[in-house]
Assembly symmetry: C2
Homo-oligomer: 268 residues x 2
């Protein structure tokens, strides 16, 4: 088994565990990184969560998530900006260097309008990113989510947007589940270079029985995770591999077993 020095786990992966349990368990297992979903911060002061991470020797790799920029009216769009700025504040407070952006999509809007509003929304949050010192990591989502989750679906679109908006406070969260099929993946990751700010791992199961909640444990599906890790490393990425499972199956298992399985399957 490779060493675990680059392994991070999203709190959503071990969903039944609250933050105190998750950080204690991750720490005891020798897992050094945690992807913090915002729900796990609720109910206690942010400073207390930060201390909890530090006391357990854990790095907050990323805060998940902001975005969802498209809206049907100005009030909705403003609410999304406010929420993303709050996410930046929370990330700064707990010591996470970046907020992952799920850019959003509203079925009522056209695809070009969704994309226009996303670019506008990202641009509107850059100042706050600078003020908080926290990056925004654009996460392209699989094209099967273009209807209602994100109209940003390829690394290429992220590169185009960053070309336009600048890369000081913008990065790209490369999640193998969303991008593995892309025929332009290698060239777009090379083009992204140091923009790659996160590497998320899970697997595509055959068959996949649910569009959202049937992600597989690394190694159980068809994605060449090692090959994709090599691609982002060739582009300059040296950070964590963050295991992020949204899975009814794994959420129903005993989280200690999920954690042990992840450790055993960790390769890169």
């Amino acid at each position: 088994m490779d060493n675990l020095s680059r392994l991070a786990i999203h709190t959503m992966t071990t969903k039944p565990w609250d933050l105190p349990t998750a950080v204690a368990k991750f720490s005891a297992a020798g897992v050094p990184g945690v992807g913090v979903w915002r729900q796990w911060l609720a109910g206690r002061p942010l400073a207390e969560s930060r201390a909890m991470l530090a006391d357990n020797g854990l790095s907050a790799v990323s805060l998940v998530r902001g975005g969802f920029f498209p809206g049907l009216n100005a009030a909705e769009r403003t609410a999304a900006l406010d929420d993303t700025r709050r996410a930046l504040d929370e990330a700064a407070a707990v010591g996470a260097p970046q907020v992952v952006l799920v850019c959003g999509a509203r079925p009522e809007l056209s695809l070009p309008e969704n994309r226009r509003q996303i670019t506008e929304g990202v641009a509107a949050c850059l100042d706050h990113a600078r003020q908080t010192g926290v990056k925004l990591a654009l996460e392209p989502l699989h094209p099967m989510y273009a209807d209602c989750r994100s109209a940003i679906n390829t690394i290429g679109q992220c590169n185009d947007m960053i070309d336009q908006l600048g890369d000081t406070w913008l990065g790209i969260a490369a999640d193998v589940y969303h991008i593995w099929w892309d025929p332009q993946l290698e060239s777009e990751i090379a083009r992204a270079g140091r923009r790659i700010a996160a590497f998320h791992a899970c697997d595509w199961l055959v068959p996949t029985t649910d569009l959202v909640l049937d992600r597989g444990m690394p190694g159980d599906g068809v994605i060449d995770i090692g090959g994709l890790r090599a691609m982002v490393e060739a582009a300059g990425y040296q950070g964590f591999t963050e295991v992020e499972l949204l899975s009814r199956r794994w959420w129903a298992e005993e989280p200690d077993h999920v954690l042990a399985t992840m450790k055993a399957s960790h390769r890169c």
Copy 2:
């Protein structure tokens, strides 16, 4: 309601009807085109099916489907070539100008190897296409099918393959369900130009509850079908709009109602 002169319906759309029933019903409804799935030709001489279409004044727009080129060994790959050549023979026999190719993908193979075998398979069928006078229409499938149905997922990949193999006997079947999300769609359709050989319509439902069998009736989802039709027309396409629904919901309805709904929703 627009006139129906460009409307074609796939036999799979009205699945409960056999070929005699479907052609009689389509004809009576004033629908001039039919996309023939090969299962509908089983059990009678091909000449009889051809006569049945002619007697009802129907054009066979396409035969569905050949392809599935990747295999785990030479015997599997040869079987796929033989089957695709048989499809070309069948298309010629019933008067269909093209065979739609679902290119295939095997989860056991890497994505690059799947793609390599597809290009090799298509190349190996070109002679037979020339001999039968029937085109092969590459259909890019949605990226959510890259694991086990097709590793060809964008119009761009089809253009690249046709650049390599020549466009005399190759075309592209543009199915809105598979391509609507693509950020490069407009430029790749423009690049395709006259290569666009078919235009398939259905809709992406919100939510989509099944990866395969939950396609929507045109108008019931988020796809800008009229906008995509305008795109292929700008590229030079003037052929049929083929309604192809794979849908547990619509298959469970009375096919007369499905047909009436399609006629009423037909816009382009």
